[in-house]
């Protein structure tokens, strides 16, 4: 219902994926379009009694204005951690231990907490997974909107209420005048997520971090919420970091996609390229394991083994014990993000000087034995 006015916008955004990708990940932004978010060598550590766990290790990426970057990976790969690190809401004792985060060119990871608070909501908005628990049950949604608006914008109560009504109207809450004083429990899940989006957008942030925004919702509502999120962000030119484990959501919504594994960014590129021609062996496995409607298979493809625990990440490439192509070098030397296909992949298969040889056999034998 809410997607119709937006259908033109995403197409316009997608027209320029290539020059954006040239500016992506490891290169500094070239002149004109400064990225909204620029993350470099981000490292997050959790000190525990026995050892220091590295939850994010050397993560680098950019998001351009108006761009939707999908971040995928399995549970524990560090997707949500990346979002939480950017907005600095890591659960203690987790903390940023290295690297830098720039918002519109300004370094924000080293700000004192009291200097960071005004950025939240005003410059970085965040949407969480579960709309049923994201809203405070004891305050009406009008109260929550008004307090958020007034925390950031110089408005009086009346102006803030007007703005709250406009926001609710914009996110597709029917008859917002009558719903403003309702409490969260009087809304359905999908409606609550619309309210959450309105709250995240209340002060027009340049960057929205959406952490699994549709995972807790009905499939039929998911599409509406995604279309809404995409439309309101496109209208404002806000960049979106969309964290999800759902490749379908990524395929539909994102412009570029970043694949994470064991706290590392292993591949980043335009969404269609990564889905059709993944460059990293893990991404290949990930894409192969998506059930398709067209094809009929006995069993879904699965990558042998499991993602290592943070306490036991192997040396070299974190994926090497499960990788069909792993060579000696992969077990000792950690690959950087290297140009691969239309994007970049952290894999020695793409080393421009001395690439590791690809072994085609293992995948086929796996298929054959089934």
């Amino acid at each position: 219902m809410s997607s119709t006015p937006s259908s033109a916008e995403p197409g316009a955004v997608e027209q320029a994926p290539d020059d954006r990708n040239a500016a992506a990940a490891s290169h500094p932004p070239d002149g004109g379009r400064e990225p909204v978010l620029c993350v470099r060598h981000l490292r997050v550590e959790f000190p525990t009694r026995h050892a220091t766990l590295v939850a994010l290790d050397d993560v680098s990426f950019d998001i351009a204005p108006g761009e939707v970057l999908g971040v995928v990976g399995e549970s524990g790969a560090g997707k949500s951690m990346t979002g939480n690190a950017v907005i600095r809401l890591l659960e203690p004792p987790g903390h940023i231990a290295g690297g830098e985060v720039r918002l519109a060119g300004r370094r924000i990871d080293d700000l004192a907490e009291e200097d960071f608070v005004p950025l939240r909501g005003r410059h970085i908005g965040m949407i969480f997974q579960d709309p049923l628990t994201s809203l405070n049950p004891l305050f009406s949604i009008g109260d929550q909107l008004v307090e958020t608006i007034r925390a950031h914008l110089p408005m009086n109560e009346k102006q803030a209420r007007e703005r709250a009504l406009a926001l609710l109207r914009e996110v597709g809450i029917p008859a917002p005048e009558t719903r403003l004083d309702s409490y969260p429990h009087q809304f359905s899940g999908g409606m609550r997520q619309r309210v959450v989006i309105a709250l995240a957008l209340a002060a027009e942030p340049e960057l929205i971090i959406a952490d699994e925004p549709t995972t807790a919702l009905d499939v039929s509502v998911q599409a509406q919420i995604l279309a809404l999120l995409k439309r309101v962000c496109a209208e404002r030119g806000a960049a979106v970091m969309l964290v999800t484990h759902d490749m379908g959501v990524i395929a539909e919504t994102a412009d570029r996609v970043a694949v994470m594994y064991a706290g590392r960014l292993i591949e980043i590129g335009p969404v269609n390229e990564v889905i059709r021609r993944p460059q990293h062996p893990y991404s290949e496995g990930l894409m192969a394991s998506i059930p398709g409607l067209a094809e009929r298979r006995e069993r879904l493809y699965q990558i042998e083994g499991a993602m290592p625990r943070l306490a036991a990440i192997p040396a070299g490439c974190a994926f090497n014990p499960r990788c069909p192509h792993a060579a000696e070098r992969c077990r000792t030397e950690r690959p950087e993000l290297l140009p691969a296909g239309a994007g970049q992949a952290a894999c020695w298969l793409h080393d421009p000087e001395n690439p590791v040889a690809r072994r085609e056999a293992p995948q086929d034998t796996q298929e054959a034995t089934r």
Binding site: Q129, D130, E147, A151, Y183, L199
Partner: protein, 326 residues
């Protein structure tokens, strides 16, 4: 809402009826008051006369009915010991107990909530750890011991505050006497109020802390922070209100306990309250006073419970079924 209220009031009446039954049974199972009152030399005729005067010669059911009807009008008969109406005795003593209970309740609730919030927000700090350790003392030391220690320290050794009594009182209206308007009355109140409130304080503090820690972990608090609300707004507006829902119940019940447990504090500080009256009544098997005291405490608990239920409505919109769009 109205149906809920009626239901609760009916429940309260039932509880009061049961308590009345128990109070009434005191008259029959705690010795024969007539023997006590008249002594050994009285004749059988004297005893029969007194029995008739006190209504003890009637059938049990009639006696009970009479007791309930009287109790509903705050009539509890004549004290066996002082031969004065029990209601007068209690009314004389009630202001002292209520003032002590209310002041120590305010002390316990305010300090308990403030310290609970502080220890939850500053979880790792040195002061929080000290407060948490010190609160173990409040939980584990018996009230009378705390009272005696306070008397020893502040009254005997330092001589700052009086050790017993209520100080000077001022008469307000027909029957209310207050110690809150004189310096000596206020000074006398400090030690008993702390003694009486300390246990409740530590209990409320630990409860608020535990609830607050729980609430601070919820998604809506994280989302409130992600919306850029200041730490103060998040902690004191969003987290505290959610913390208070379960805390209200406990505070309500604890207020009743404060009045009921005032007995010990009143004994230690020779506070001229209802608790002291009850202790004397027990010593002299003054059953009408004991029965009236029992009824009074039960009434306090029942009323507080009712108020707590209504407070839930005020605080939590999820309980207000009507008025919503659903």
């Amino acid at each position: 809402m109205l149906a809920f209220l009626i239901q609760r009031v009916l429940q309260a009446i039932f509880v009061m009826f049961v308590v009345a039954l128990i109070s009434f049974s005191l008259f029959h199972y705690v010795g024969d008051p007539v023997l006590n009152m008249l002594g050994q030399e009285a004749t059988e005729a004297d005893r029969a006369a007194l029995r008739a005067q006190l209504g003890l010669d009637q059938p049990v059911v009639v006696q009970f009915w009479q007791f309930v009807v009287n109790a509903a009008q705050f009539e509890f008969g004549i004290s066996y010991r002082s031969a004065r109406p029990v209601t007068d005795l209690i009314m004389e003593r009630l202001p002292a107990t209520l003032e002590l209970a209310i002041i120590s309740a305010i002390f316990a609730v305010v300090m308990g909530i403030v310290l609970g919030i502080y220890t939850a927000i500053q979880r790792g700090s040195w002061l929080s750890k000290f407060i948490m350790t010190a609160s173990l003392i409040g939980v584990s030391l018996p009230t009378f011991l705390i009272g005696i220690l306070l008397i020893y320290l502040f009254a005997v050794e330092l001589g700052w505050l009086p050790a017993f009594g209520r100080g000077q009182t001022v008469r307000l209206g027909d029957w209310w006497t207050t110690g809150l308007l004189t310096t000596s009355g206020l000074r006398s109140l400090i030690l008993p109020a702390i003694t009486l409130g300390l246990f409740q304080l530590t209990l409320i503090m630990r409860l608020v802390r535990a609830e607050m820690l729980e609430v601070l972990r919820t998604d809506y608090i994280k989302f409130a922070r992600a919306r850029g609300l200041s730490k103060r707004v998040v902690n004191l507006r969003h987290a505290l209100k959610n913390t208070l829902i379960p805390v209200i119940t406990i505070i309500g019940l604890q207020l009743g306990t404060i009045i009921a447990f005032a007995i010990i504090t009143e004994t230690v500080f020779q506070w001229p309250g209802v608790g002291a009256l009850f202790i004397t009544a027990v010593r002299f098997v003054d059953i009408p006073v004991m029965a009236a005291y029992l009824m009074m405490i039960a009434l306090v608990f029942v009323v507080i419970n009712l108020v707590v239920d209504l407070l839930y409505y005020a605080v939590d919109p999820r309980l207000r079924v009507q008025g919503g769009a659903k």
